[in-house]
Symmetry: C2
Subunit: 307 residues, 2 copies
């Protein structure tokens, strides 16, 4: 496979340039779709827009767009999927940061939503962002086939819900101070962050024509990436400082939260992240898809990031 | 119209018997679909089930089922729509009751979810219930055509989101102590409770074959019912006691919240509720639908209820 055109293309792929183009699309779409002036009460529109438009790495939208391009999906559909997963991510951060959850006052270097707008506004903004995610996936303008709409809503609902992200957060809450074993830690993260990252990849793919065996391979890629993301997050929590992270570093250890680093040590965690990256690359090769350069480059960057 | 078979049928219609049958369907479906044992982490499943399975009038599911029957929709589809609107309603109550919102400790005569399970669990349970509503609308077992799935998700997302329920709650929060005029009060309630009640009616209808003019008439019926529900709620807040209501009576007045009663007085509010009921009946007659007896009886009961 290493001599195939796809792989050669990957070698020369400019992730920075690609990302700039995709981010412009995503930011423009979010700017347009999230609580536009005049359509939503200002007391709700402001915290919604603050929560979403304040930046962020947009890892999930980038995965969705990369995956959509791998299967040749129409950009209009892909941008909807990309924004929908980002809205779910954004709402989860707003609710996670609240005093009854992680009680975080800083996010991306700025006051969190409840600090800036109050707890009630943060709660409602998060709720409205979740609803908006499903609204974006169900346009009545013909830009997305109804079969895709239904499938995308199903995937997002499952990834966000009790057997996905919300379930993982519940396990996380219940596990503070408990000695989780490796299986339990994996299960928590598979749900808490893995489900939505994996859904990002798959939702991008189902915006276009995708064969079952390719979708299976992308499922494996998404699974490895979801886990790798969390392993690297745990590593950075002990190796980076708060300014670099844009959030409070060392917090997991201070709260006695189980992490991959606390379970397997720093060095083994770093090896594990590289192993997951290898798995992700192998899955892309197995997918049979030709335009996987963005997905491959994103995997490299996600694992080798320093913030 | 008063001599038509549909109207004669309405005269003889036994709402109690009809309701018992529908409620059995809804309760059975919710019991089956909401966080079934083994599929969801117990720390999340328990508050989710407590929030949903603890009873309630199930007004929204009944409206959805009545509307579905008016158009001859398949029961399997209608029950999904009925449960989805109830899950959105249930999650909104969980979040509304939290200390940062209404800070209510009693709901249907029982401790509210955050009192029973803690605030973090209540927050997550509400979030997961919203996701579950969309999951119920997007089965992959062929029980609901994909076009209906997409349409139902769109309607529910719009009714629940920033230009619907969540938007109305934001206006409500921002309006405490302010002298709202009639237009502002109507707008708040059109969003806060009206949007989801109206969506219940319309979602039931689009589960089956429905002509545009019938859907328009049902839109008017749903609008009148949504408003009537809130007017009656405001009336009961000053005329009923807490035991009858199953929640704290007199709370709106105590919190200086604007209500229809505070704006137009008790007697005018009662007349207004009857006027809305007349509008709802007229809309049903205009719908051209034959089997509107349940919708008509529900309207009568909703306006003339004593709790």
């Amino acid at each position: 496979m290493s001599s195939s055109p796809a792989f050669c293309h990957a070698e020369a792929f400019d992730l920075g340039a690609w990302t700039a183009v995709q981010l412009a699309l995503v930011e423009q779409a979010l700017e347009c779709w999230v609580a536009p002036p005049g359509q939503v009460p200002p007391s709700l529109a402001e915290p919604m827009r603050y929560a979403v438009l304040g930046g962020g790495k947009r890892m999930r939208p980038l995965l969705a767009l990369a995956s959509a391009q791998a299967v040749g999906a129409p950009p209009e559909a892909a941008v909807r999927a990309a924004c929908a997963v980002e809205l779910i991510h954004a709402y989860s951060l707003v609710h996670d940061d609240m005093p009854c959850m992680d009680n975080d006052v800083l996010r991306r270097g700025l006051p969190t939503v409840h600090v800036r707008f109050g707890e009630a506004a943060a709660l409602l903004a998060g709720d409205a962002l979740q609803a908006l995610a499903f609204e974006l996936l169900t346009p009545d303008d013909g830009s997305l086939p109804v079969a895709s709409q239904a499938r995308l809503c199903r995937m997002l609902a499952q990834a966000a819900g009790a057997a996905g992200m919300a379930g993982g957060q519940a396990i996380d809450l219940a596990s503070v101070g408990l000695p989780l074993n490796s299986d339990q830690l994996h299960q928590m993260h598979r749900l808490k962050t893995g489900a939505l990252l994996q859904a990002s990849v798959l939702m991008g793919a189902v915006c276009g024509p995708v064969e079952p065996h390719s979708l299976n391979a992308l499922t494996d890629y998404g699974s490895a990436m979801g886990l790798a993301f969390q392993v690297v997050d745990d590593i950075l929590d002990v190796t980076a400082d708060s300014n670099t992270l844009g959030k409070t570093a060392g917090k997991d250890a201070a709260q006695d939260k189980p992490t991959f680093v606390s379970l397997m040590g720093l060095s083994s965690s770093q090896n594990y992240a590289q192993e997951l990256l290898s798995q992700a690359r192998a899955s892309l090769r197995a997918s049979g898809l030709k335009h996987t350069a963005p997905l491959q480059a994103l995997a490299d960057k996600l694992v080798n990031r320093i913030f």
